[in-house]
């Protein structure tokens, strides 16, 4: 059991899910898309959310103070001139 936190479209909410830290990043992104599509994210329901909506999001796996597994899906925030021009 883990808590998945998704931040999207100005909302951030938690969902208890039957998964753990062993879940792959790809699995977590796929689950997050389903959660948002199904309206499981408080204040946000996007039935037609793109399959790749979270491609540029990263996953942080952290333990809460109570030892609970918390998985955060958040946007990546690196910048850099070295990655090549558009």
């Amino acid at each position: 059991m883990a808590i998945l936190n998704i931040t999207y479209q100005g909302q951030s909410s938690d969902h208890e899910l039957e998964l753990d830290f062993a879940a792959t990043d790809a699995d977590i992104r796929r689950i997050a898309v389903e959660v948002v599509r199904s309206g499981g994210m408080r204040g946000l329901h996007v039935a037609q959310l793109a399959e790749r909506a979270f491609d540029h999001f990263v996953i942080d796996r952290l333990r809460g103070p109570d030892g609970a597994q918390r998985i955060y899906l958040r946007p990546k925030v690196p910048f850099g001139a070295g990655a090549g021009l558009r």
């Binding site: 931040t7 999207y8 925030v77 690196p78």
Partner: protein, 153 residues
């Protein structure tokens, strides 16, 4: 690695209303500012007053990189609105909101601070430090003189 690259680092400013600098962090590289949960937490924490995110390209170019583009897309998606983004290069500052990019003149007040923090003031648009060995020997300082002829970015 050139001396210039060694001396410079990429720096990120999170900018709020009135040009207030709400957060700043730096990398140890002139060409990359790695992902950072702390940076994202600062962006989210200040989302109510957030107006822009700026970062430096201390050795150029005055353009958004592929990494910049995908990061801007991800942040806008998470915040649910289009932020304004800036790249501060040695000679120019560019900005974009959505798809529209432009060279910013005059520059925001904090562009100079960003250049200073990035270690590129010595070759910035308006000033460059020129060593005069004789003068250094007698006065022990570097002279700052205007220079618009420097080619860069």
């Amino acid at each position: 690695m050139t001396a210039r690259r060694k001396a410079c680092v990429e720096v990120c400013f999170v900018i709020g209303r009135g040009g207030a600098i709400l957060w700043a962090d730096a990398s140890d590289s002139a060409e990359a500012l790695p992902d950072s949960r702390a940076r994202w937490e600062a962006i989210w924490r200040h989302r109510g007053e957030l107006e822009a995110i700026a970062h430096s390209h201390p050795v150029g170019p005055a353009a958004f990189s592929a990494e910049d583009e995908s990061t801007m897309q991800a942040i806008d998606g998470a915040l649910g609105r289009e932020l304004r983004y800036y790249v501060v290069a040695p000679r120019h500052t560019i900005a974009r909101t959505g798809e529209r990019a432009e060279v910013i003149t005059p520059e925001p007040w904090w562009a100079g601070r960003l250049r200073l923090a990035s270690g590129m003031v010595w070759r910035s648009r308006w000033f460059v430090a020129r060593r005069d060995p004789a003068r250094d020997a007698t006065r022990g300082r570097r002279e700052i003189v205007p220079s618009r002829s420097i080619k860069g970015d």
